[in-house]
Symmetry: C2
Subunit: 556 residues, 2 copies
Amino acid sequence: MLHATVKRNTYQDSLRLMQVSTALGRVAGVNAVSVMMGTPANKEVLRAAGLGADELASAGPSDLVIAADVVDAAVGEALVAKADELLAHQARASRRPGLPSARSLERAVSIGEPDLALVSIPGEYVASETRRLLDRGIHALIFSDNVSVEDEVALKLEARERGLLVMGPDCGTASLAGLPIAFANEVHDGSIGLVGASGTGLQAVMVQIDRLGGGVSHAIGLGGRDLGAEVGGISCVQALRALDDDAGTRTVVLISKPPAPGVRDDVIGVAETLSKPVVAHLVGDRPQREVDGNVHYARTLEEAGRLAVALAGPRGARDVTLRPDQRWIKALYTGGSLAAEAAALLSAVIGEGERGNGYVMKSGGHEVIDLGDDRHTRGRVHPMIDPALRTERIPAVLADPENAVLLLDVVLGHGSAADPAGPLASAIADGLARLHADGRDIAVVASVCGTERDPQSLSAQTAALERAGVAVLGDNAAATRHALATLRRRDAPPRPPATTSAPIRRLLSAPPRIINIGLREFAVALHERGAHVVHYDWAPVAGGDPRLQALLESLG
Amino acid sequence: MLHATVKRNTYQDSLRLMQVSTALGRVAGVNAVSVMMGTPANKEVLRAAGLGADELASAGPSDLVIAADVVDAAVGEALVAKADELLAHQARASRRPGLPSARSLERAVSIGEPDLALVSIPGEYVASETRRLLDRGIHALIFSDNVSVEDEVALKLEARERGLLVMGPDCGTASLAGLPIAFANEVHDGSIGLVGASGTGLQAVMVQIDRLGGGVSHAIGLGGRDLGAEVGGISCVQALRALDDDAGTRTVVLISKPPAPGVRDDVIGVAETLSKPVVAHLVGDRPQREVDGNVHYARTLEEAGRLAVALAGPRGARDVTLRPDQRWIKALYTGGSLAAEAAALLSAVIGEGERGNGYVMKSGGHEVIDLGDDRHTRGRVHPMIDPALRTERIPAVLADPENAVLLLDVVLGHGSAADPAGPLASAIADGLARLHADGRDIAVVASVCGTERDPQSLSAQTAALERAGVAVLGDNAAATRHALATLRRRDAPPRPPATTSAPIRRLLSAPPRIINIGLREFAVALHERGAHVVHYDWAPVAGGDPRLQALLESLG
């Protein structure tokens, strides 16, 4: 038999109600049960599921409905009691001492002075609530779905007009100035800024960046429709420009499911005007080129993370300022194939150059030398066994005022020197100290070919190089790409950085102060990790009647 | 003044002599000093260096020469005493209790019953010594350089005739059945076999395989000239066929500096006939295609390692035997962009298929489903928050006898379930136990999007899945590629595996028993890691006179 109960003006968020529904479904004597707010759409769902009891007719959007198919009325009554108990338990469980909260927007804003709203109320209320936020100069991250695309376009245009950013609707992932918001992973801070119309796409790239030794400045979610034909990438373009403007961001990553064709061209067009390198991955897209100007195309999410780390460098690496007359990459290798790989990757960018005369490649002052080659080892021990042959060349390379980057390999394993990084690190630290005393600098970039169980230990050798001021990348191709990126950064940027609005610049300048509107769990999670957050205990106004609501808005 | 001393019939290897030369150079009153064997080439080097004292004339190839430019005769005498002391010290330092050693080849062979010789004597003696080894059915890894290419071709042809393998000359790196030889890293055992005309190239790929969770069966070095026009890839082709024949190898990797054009075609032609997937990276080569039949082209050494692990799967993963009627990949995703990436990678291989109706892709029985899509979550909690929506589908997917692979994502981080892998692992372990009881099986492949510092911990979630029998790859693209490779392995192989000679099959069947000829350090290192090794205390025969030697050989 059908059994339905309507609880007037008892707003609960959908996540909680789904959890309650699942728990009630396990009660003996219950064939089916669903607990929902009484919106027209929800009532339709209940009717379609065969739970359309007559009592539903009177339920409004701010009324809670418990609709069940049960074996008898006693079970129905027991269900209602159990629902009350579960909701009360949820409310107790999510109560947190010290979490500021308020029952009106005005009060919440005056307590929290928020610059970002995290919005997770039902979709039909999103447009009006978000307008009230934008009116107050507050950026919005809209987690809610079921927002019409017309509302999305209107909100994003209004926001842009005011210099504000709307992320979403249906934006599940962001991380701003080190603060993960909603669905986000714990990653290290760093200089890679991400923009993505794709939640798990952003998460996957952030995770790879973290694993490969890089770090993240910001990850800006857009919602899955931002690069569609209707929205046309409004927020994407704002976010790209904001990251180009952001001092803490060195490399930009753009992730999206396949955009509408015209939008793809628009967005890539903007990416091409940025002053910083951009790694683009449009899931399912098969790019024709690996790199085009400042835009590097990745074929997978993993590769997007890998390229970004190669371009930006490892987190914690020192910031090297090069003078315009520092022009050359000097690569001193002990491994022949590693030298050949570096020469191939460099040649693709700076031109073929020459071979021979002891060089694997020489193009202008750019040089790749394999010191293990017979020409250099004549009568000397191979530099993988005795580092001296290379170490003694380090001071001259560092001292040459035209050199910009010293690029190195360090090969561990059986047969290699007991401590190849040791003497190398000493020579580099000494040389850099001398340069720094002179007000000069040079970038030193390396990769270590080895495992943790090698006699020399990968982590120990890496740490020795890092202490000496070396940027250590995860493999030789990454190190070579980082050397090239370092050289390009020295060049006057092709154009001035894009500019962003003052409010967006402020948003990215520090972890945001958040007003949470909707799922209380988000506020609790943010509060527990020490974020500045106020929870606005939202419920539909005017009993959820959309006509009355519209009237109130037009008056207010 | 010049000061030279000749010590008759005192053979020392060049590594030791270089170390002695370096130490003597630091003695006060010494302008220049070099300690070498008195071969014609070395005497020429000494003369060119301005150390050509008259005494050199009488020195033969098996005589040790100490040639110096010193301030007075007393310093010269002191140098000789110091040299004696250093050589004696080296001899003591390299003496190891328990290292079997012999002064004749016959004796060494009878003590060690070797199947592989590690040859590091001076280049001019390599051809004759290697022939003596091949005559005795012993494979050779020739570390020495300065061997003529004519000798290399002749030795490799003779070896091939006898079903033996010659690695080198100038081969610095190998690892056979888990035993690293000469310059090699400590990597985990596994199912990836490598062939490389490139020492540090092999090392770099092995290291990446190890870091990405894969393992190595064998790494066969060839020497840098094997893929040149003269040698024509003789050993490379033998090694490729041997790895295709080897039961412990599942995926083959081919690494080389750019080969001669005709040789490239020959070698790739052989790779295309193998029954196993091949990852090819020819340093500096820019392949036109990513994959061509069974040959996958990598653009960097790092990518070669990454593709190999994706194809072979992680080390320690269980071996899944599929029946011919298990045909479909079922991908159940919680992340929309991850599902889109999987669909894109699968479509490129198995065809576009259809979208819609709740499928991100459907092609025959292949299905990619995004369970986070509205169509599946209607009234349910998103499967990233509550794994139930996916977990409850697992039994049916595992039970369907036509399914070959279940492909999954697991997304960690804030917002996600506290233990997404837990219920998933239980459902998989239960389902697999039921199948195994029935004599059936199915492959389960996943990636985990998360970091160690995520609330759920990457390593803990990965371990739970692995315990349940899931092959966990490092990222979603790798997991998808592994699902495809698993499906291809189920197919009847395109052709029978290549066959190899009985001696080469024996060589790869267990860690080799080695006879070391030349640098004693190699024998010491192998002995210390518990390898079966005998050191043959080689010195040039017949006082090093090449004519007399040739005569002795022709008689012997």
